[in-house]
């Protein structure tokens, strides 16, 4: 399974990268894109929207099914990636190379609660 060790994860299959400016970049894992199959539609949240940890804030739809994307921690949406909206299949090609949205966490310490690569692999194994 492709799970880079420099990223954090959620059990709901989002990856999270901490940026130098304190924001978080969020995408879906390679395991998630593999399970969903060919992505054909992506809906992203409005910039400026405040979200709570675990709140559904985006949707990805594959040929097979629709799936909610959850906020990994509480915070504010500061950017969204319109490129993946135009070409959802980019995520199938490289799930870690294309992000969905950026979040400014309400509390920077919350990031410590996210899963590391080993814990994510274990969580996937229990599904």
């Amino acid at each position: 399974m492709n799970v880079p060790t420099n990223l954090k994860y959620t059990a709901s299959h989002e990856w999270i990268r901490s940026e130098p400016d304190g924001t978080l970049t969020i995408g879906i894992t390679d395991h998630a894109q593999e399970a969903l199959g060919d992505l054909v539609f992506i809906e992203l949240p409005a910039v400026g929207r405040k979200v709570k940890a675990g709140e559904a804030c985006a949707v990805v739809e594959s040929v097979k099914a629709a799936s909610d994307i959850y906020a990994p921690v509480s915070g504010e949406i500061v950017a969204v990636n319109e490129q993946v909206v135009a070409s959802p299949e980019m995520i199938n090609a490289d799930a870690y190379g294309h992000w969905l949205y950026k979040l400014k966490p309400a509390n920077a310490a919350d990031v410590a609660s996210l899963l590391d690569a080993a814990a994510y692999i274990a969580a996937v194994g229990e599904e």
Partner: protein, 384 residues
Amino acid sequence: MLKQTPLNTVHRAAGAKMVDFGGWDMPVSYGSQIEEHLAVRRDAGMFDVSHMLAVDVEPGDASENPNAVAHNSARDFLRYALANNVDKLTVAGKALYSCLLKPDGGVLDDLIVYFLSENWFRIVVNASTADKDVAWLRSLIDERGAKLKLTPRRDLAMIAVQGPRARERVWAVLQDRNTEAKAETEPLKPFMAAEIGEYFIARTGYTGEDGFEVMLPSTRAIEFWRALAAAGVRPCGLGARDTLRLEAGMNLYGQDMDETVNPLESGLAWTVDLASARDFVGKTALLARAPTRQLIGLLLEDKGGVLRAHQKVTTHAGEGEITSGTFSPTLGASIALARLPAGVAAGERAQVDVRGKTLAARIVKPPFVRHGKSLLASIKEKPL
């Protein structure tokens, strides 16, 4: 324990994503479902459909049914058992699509019946309904005191090879195995079948493309599948099969129709012969009540999601529901089959509830795609 087709090990070795499909361990895709779909539209793909069941209907011995009436032939029986009329089958090898109905008109299954001779009809039924169908047909045979034998053919594998280049690739594989196969299958018109040695080859399918459905002994399936792959036929899973059949406007049993609806409300009036004098199971019920609903197509016009089964549809004539919905790889748009009030017509607009949002869709007459081409005037297939 899931049931396995003779090709199960091949699918697993190819790294296919496997799913439980009606109790069978089946490949949903081998990689990209959209690429598999497009391979069928543009070239050739193959599907393991060995989970479906062929059942041979032949004259039986009197000893098998002590109540047998000697003059009750396979044709007489099927004329009564099926909603479509097997008397349309006058040429040996001809196939007919039909529903199998309950007395109340509900759809027990949809099937293809092949007329090989007056002593041999073959029906092919869906996997999840196969046991139910055989039990139902046996009870009908008993009830009518027919002198018939039903033989489920689990000894056969079934491979559907579909696409504009499907037939030539099958011929390329067959030429080393059965020298007469090409000569005997080349003249086959659509919906015709021929038995050539151990191969039963029908020019039928479930994709809206040309091609063959090939039945052969299970023991030969792996070798034949590998030879087709070597000849350039792409293995395709049930995921692509579903998007292909939906583009082709073909119903999926259990999703677009089942025992709770009749064929007249499932877009299948063309398969029900109500014109002839013959009696058949479900006829009285179908004649007793005019349909209040219809199965028709939807094309999503707004951006904002993908049409899916069970989404609510609102029309000027009342509400309905999507029975199958997907993203159409050929059209680059979302399409669906929906059960809507009888009062709506193609060309009108409807509203669909997609994840809490109301999106506009156009009501259209299926099929959406045939032989690789869009049939919707306003929308062209995506360029190659």
